[in-house]
């Protein structure tokens, strides 16, 4: 199977026509969903994730409440139609629990939980489509949903995945590429450039790690610009609708196709 697919062809293109450092198309939707306090859905190419936030609200289990801060409760639901092979995953599936745990540990240092003692913030993640970069999509969608719910955060968290194909680093992998390449997901806080999550499920040569890590941190800044514009636009729309602020005018300066500097390419 893997021998048939060319990850990176001679012209420097990947299987879906992207270049090495090209990210997939991102669409962000911040319209409210149901009774959620905040919600967002994001697509990275064909990966689509939707997140609803409830809270901060009274904790369901009294035993779990913390007297000095709020607890984050992350529940991930991978819908059976999200993958090629239709397969129902239960709530207790190991993969899903691990995904939930990494989302939780990513956001615990970022959300200002100490402002809400004895409360609980529920984060419900629904995976609608999967085509690689699941964790990055979940983290990005959760950040946006938390921002739209008005939950105080130190910064956005922008995640992106990267892999290495025979010494050539690639960004934002699809399922095809993820199956064949060692890959790493990095979540970065863009203002301070602090990294809140690095996960590596496959083996990656230690010499390659520094390259791909630095590249992913840079790509996080690009995703941040995109997310920031979406949140600003939404805020401006709501402020305008309330009649209290500036009318919804032309958005922030658009520069859609960010070409990353090919500085790391010579190795």
């Amino acid at each position: 199977m893997s021998s048939r697919i060319e990850i990176l062809n001679d012209g420097g293109y990947r299987s879906d026509g992207r270049r090495q450092y090209e990210l997939r198309d991102i669409t962000i939707d911040l319209t409210p969903q149901g009774t959620a306090d905040g919600s967002a859905s994001i697509t990275h190419g064909l990966t689509q994730v939707s997140v609803s936030i409830f809270g901060p609200r009274e904790a369901k289990q009294r035993s779990q409440t913390l007297h000095d801060r709020a607890i984050l409760n992350v529940e991930v639901n991978v819908l059976p139609f999200s993958t090629g092979d239709r397969r129902r995953r239960g709530r207790s599936d190991r993969r899903i629990l691990e995904l939930a745990a990494s989302i939780k540990s990513t956001f615990e240092p970022v959300v200002q939980t100490s402002l809400y003692p004895r409360s609980q913030i529920d984060i419900f993640v629904s995976v609608l489509q999967q085509d690689g970069g699941l964790l990055q999509a979940c983290i990005n969608a959760t950040t946006l949903a938390l921002a739209s719910a008005g939950v105080p955060m130190f910064d956005f968290v922008c995640a992106v995945s990267g892999g290495v194909h025979s010494a050539a680093p690639l960004l934002d992998l699809t399922t095809l590429e993820e199956n064949d390449l060692p890959h790493v997901t990095v979540a970065v806080m863009p203002r301070t450039k602090k990294v809140t999550l690095v996960t590596l499920e496959t083996r990656l040569h230690v010499d390659r790690f520094a390259d791909i890590f630095r590249l992913a941190c840079d790509a996080g800044q690009t995703i941040h610009a995109e997310m920031r514009r979406a949140v600003k636009e939404r805020t401006r729309t709501l402020v305008a609708a309330m009649g209290a602020g500036p009318r919804a005018g032309p958005g922030e300066h658009m520069d859609r196709d960010v070409v990353m500097d090919d500085t790391i390419i010579d190795y």
């Binding site: 009774t35 306090d37 905040g38 809270g55 901060p56 609200r57 009274e58 007297h67 709020a70 200002q112 809400y116 003692p117 004895r118 409360s119 921002a147 739209s148 719910a149 008005g150 939950v151 105080p152 955060m153 130190f154 910064d155 956005f156 806080m189 863009p190 203002r191 301070t192 920031r228 949140v231 600003k232 939404r234 805020t235 401006r236 729309t237 709501l238 402020v239 609708a241 309330m242 009649g243 209290a244 602020g245 500036p246 005018g249 922030e252």
Partner: protein, 319 residues
């Protein structure tokens, strides 16, 4: 003979405002204005901020809600508009849970009955507390609370009951304490609850509205709105005839079809306005109701298609 010796005039110095000396604080304020105006808005107070966006220097200004200090900078932590009072900079989140203040009118739902207190869901970050000592019990306002009252708390409020109350105080951890010690407050019946984002409810002179269509509306500042059949002033339970049966009753009165339709219509109007993020006031509700009645559509048609957009446009045109 008296002669006047004129002092050398220095008035031209004062005419030049650019040399006017300010108190150092004032000069800082001017610097702040400049700081905030680097955005795309002329009005500095309406600058929009997203989490992690630096606002200003932490030396010259104090951080308020929705911000935090990181080294030299005050940084925003929520998405919203910047507000500044003298040296205090805060960011007001555009969508958030209800932040209670003492004296606010709230509509809530009982979630739990505990010893000598009820827990009330009031759309805040924690459940509110309604103490047994802060409700009016049958048998007079000044009556002492007995042990027998503690044992029959469920006859007053049960889980799931809706009530209107006022924020009385806060506990140390920020949870709010409610009271219903007025004849205006207490259990709710004969109506329907609508929930909207709390930011849409502005503080009004009165949050008890009576619409001419025979509908009472209670605008809770926590975003819960109670729409019910109109009760005549004379029929409201009076002080002397404080009737426990009536105040804590779980039975709805008979509501005729016209009133039911009016209640549903008002609820749908509120839902539409909330979906369009229009702040709710008595004037807006009245005007919207008139517009809807003019159109003579069915109540449920309001929620279909672009009837909502049309309504908001029409409101904007008049206002």
């Amino acid at each position: 003979m008296i002669s006047f010796a004129s002092f050398p005039s220095s008035s031209h110095d004062f005419s030049d405002y650019s040399t006017t000396r300010h108190h150092p604080d004032v000069e800082d304020d001017i610097a702040m204005d400049f700081d905030l105006e680097d955005g795309d808005f002329e009005d500095a107070t309406q600058k929009l901020i997203v989490p992690g966006e630096p606002l200003t220097s932490s030396h010259a200004f104090m951080r308020g809600h929705g911000t935090y200090v990181d080294g030299e900078e005050v940084v925003g932590s929520v998405a919203g508009t910047v507000e500044r009072v003298n040296k205090l900079v805060s960011v007001r989140a555009i969508r958030t849970r209800y932040n209670p203040e003492v004296g606010d009118l709230v509509v809530g739902r009982i979630t739990e009955v505990q010893p000598r207190r009820w827990k009330v869901d009031a759309n805040s970050r924690q459940d509110a507390v309604l103490m047994l000592s802060s409700v009016n019990l049958p048998g007079g306002v000044q009556r002492r609370k007995l042990e027998s009252d503690e044992l029959q708390m469920r006859t007053f409020f049960e889980e799931g009951d809706l009530l209107v109350a006022e924020v009385q105080a806060f506990f140390a951890d920020g949870a709010m304490s409610l009271h219903t010690r007025s004849l205006k407050y207490g259990k709710l019946r004969n109506g329907q609850l609508v929930a909207v984002p709390p930011v849409l409810i502005k503080r009004l002179k009165s949050h008890f509205l009576t619409l001419p269509c025979g509908v009472d509306v209670i605008l809770g500042l926590n975003g819960y709105i109670w729409v019910s059949k109109h009760v005549k002033e004379s029929q409201q339970e009076g002080e002397e005839g404080f009737d426990a049966e009536a105040v804590y009753s779980n039975k709805n009165d008979d509501i005729d079809d016209a009133t039911r339709a009016a209640i549903s219509r008002v609820c749908n109007i509120i839902r539409i306005l909330a979906a369009q993020f229009v702040p709710l006031t008595d004037a807006v509700l009245l005007e919207a109701y008139d517009l809807v009645v003019e159109q003579e559509g069915d109540v449920k048609d309001l929620l279909h298609g672009d009837a909502g957009d049309a309504l908001v446009t029409a409101l904007g045109g008049r206002g």
